[in-house]
């Protein structure tokens, strides 16, 4: 079982990345279609913009849930970079516990909000908002699972690595 998971995990990670890349590519294409339709064909479109906005929401939350690695995430490492591995482990455990607790407490209300949004649909493509917003529920559950795993790893003795050059916000 563990051996299977160990082999399946990288495969799943690559597929998750494929999906994120496809979402960005589709966003890119939707924008080009939008400009082309308005200026070459003279037909302004609204659905392209709506599609891009939906893809952006999904790209960020899907990406944060399944694609972005610990190395990619934007964080401060002034303190974590200065302390020894043992302290860093304790800090990582505390951070993970904090996230698990607060995301966990908010989860029922968050799911309630998402479910409530079934009453509205998007303006052009008429996608129900609970469907569109469901990715946030996925994101919260994935974040809790990931930090349970990270916390457990810290407890077992793996200190998280620090590398300040990795985390950029694209400025």
């Amino acid at each position: 079982m563990t051996a299977f998971l160990r082999r399946a995990a990288p495969w799943l990670a690559r597929r998750a990345e494929n999906v994120a890349a496809a979402m960005l590519a589709a966003m890119f294409a939707a924008f080009l279609v939008q400009i082309a339709f308005r200026y070459l064909v003279g037909l302004p479109t609204g659905w392209t913009h709506e599609l891009s906005a939906m893809l952006w929401v999904w790209l960020v939350l899907w990406g944060a849930a399944f694609v972005v690695s610990e190395r990619d995430e934007i964080r401060f490492d002034i303190v974590t970079g200065a302390v020894g591995p043992r302290t860093r482990r304790v800090m990582a455990l505390a951070a993970s516990l904090g996230l698990v607790a607060l995301y966990g407490v908010s989860l029922p209300a968050v799911l309630d909000y998402i479910a409530f949004m079934k009453v509205e649909r998007t303006a052009y493509l008429k996608v129900r908002f609970d469907v569109l917003f469901s990715i946030y529920g996925v994101f919260v559950v994935a974040a809790i699972a990931r930090h349970l795993w990270l916390g457990w790893r810290a407890l077992r003795g793996d200190a998280p690595a620090t590398d300040a050059t990795q985390a950029t916000s694209g400025l």
Binding site: R38, G42, P44, T45, G46, H49, E50, Y113, F116, M117, V119, E120, R121, A123, Y124
Partner: protein, 308 residues
């Protein structure tokens, strides 16, 4: 805000898209003063800073806002029958709007909102009648003259349909980008009430304003049923009276401002004139009645409103 919570009076969180400088912010201030005497503490948030445009209704339904100034388009999102009041050339002017909402039709609409959304509608807040502002100098008399004109309309099918019902080629574009869009020629015109044309300086990039008066712009000042139902009858009446007073003041201010602005735009060298409004009205009502939107309208309501 900590000290606010300590007071005994109940908080009324209110979120709106308009800015703190808007006439309607002054309307809320006046309402807030009267509400204070009734034991309420109005907490206004302007400029869409607390809840984004179009999300206030859900915030009220979920108990995160006690009051809102809700767009009828947002209500029709959840109650399709309400789309009738978002159609072009339905209300003739602010007075007609008020009479309809005070009457039997208004009662019917308010009951739907109360039953299905859990909000009590205090009244329609008029903010000006939408007129067409254009960059090209082409004279507009009938919908046929609008053919091929790239008219910026807010996003969404319902708004785009409104553009079509004027005979134009509706173009969705973010409100903030309209000025540059007009300047660069990405769009030929926009449709907004005159006060917006002044606030956003659209008149600087217009050659003319066609007084089509195609849509009487209003939102619905509302309070959640939770607050409304908890009040005894006399307090409700006083609450409603305070709202009526503030809304009446705001409506009068808007009408005054619209009159002044039409003159002001003329002094700025713009051509300001009325087209053949009857031709526009007939064309638009025909388009609406033939559309899917009209299928959800309550039977006979259009005729009742037209007859008022």
């Amino acid at each position: 805000a900590g000290s606010v919570r300590a007071q005994a009076s109940a908080n009324l969180r209110f979120s709106a898209v308009f800015s703190e400088q808007d006439i309607r912010a002054e309307m809320m201030k006046r309402f807030g003063e009267d509400a204070k005497a009734l034991g309420f503490n109005l907490q206004p948030y302007y400029g869409g800073t607390l809840f984004k445009q179009g999300t206030e209704l859900v915030a009220m339904q979920r108990g995160n806002l006690e009051m809102g100034n809700i767009a009828p388009q947002d209500i029709s999102n959840q109650i399709p029958a309400w789309s009738i009041v978002t159609s072009a050339y339905l209300f003739r002017d602010a007075d007609h709007l008020k009479r309809v909402f005070d009457g039997e039709v208004g009662g019917q609409l308010k009951k739907m909102a109360s039953d299905q959304l859990g909000i009590h509608i205090l009244g329609p807040t008029y903010f000006g009648t939408r007129q067409v502002g254009l960059k090209p100098k082409k004279r507009i008399a009938t919908p046929a003259d609008m053919a091929g004109i790239k008219l910026r309309m807010p996003g969404g099918d319902a708004w785009q349909f409104l553009g079509t019902s004027l005979g134009a080629n509706p173009t969705p574009m973010a409100y903030a980008e309209v000025y540059t869009g007009l300047q660069s020629g990405a769009i030929d015109g926009q449709d907004n009430p005159l006060p917006n044309v002044q606030n956003m300086k659209f008149y600087e990039v217009h050659s003319q304003i066609v007084l089509t008066s195609h849509l009487v712009g209003f939102d619905l000042l509302s309070v959640s049923n939770k607050v409304w139902n908890a009040m005894p009858a006399d307090k409700r009446a006083a609450f409603q009276a305070a709202a009526d007073k503030a809304i009446a003041w705001s409506t009068a201010e808007h009408l005054k401002k619209e009159g002044e602005l039409a003159e002001f735009f003329k002094t700025q060298g713009l051509d300001v004139y009325a087209p053949d409004v009857k031709a526009f009205r007939d064309y638009a009502q025909k388009r609406y009645l033939a559309s899917d939107l009209a299928k959800s309208w309550p039977a006979g309501m259009l005729d009742t409103i037209n007859a008022m």
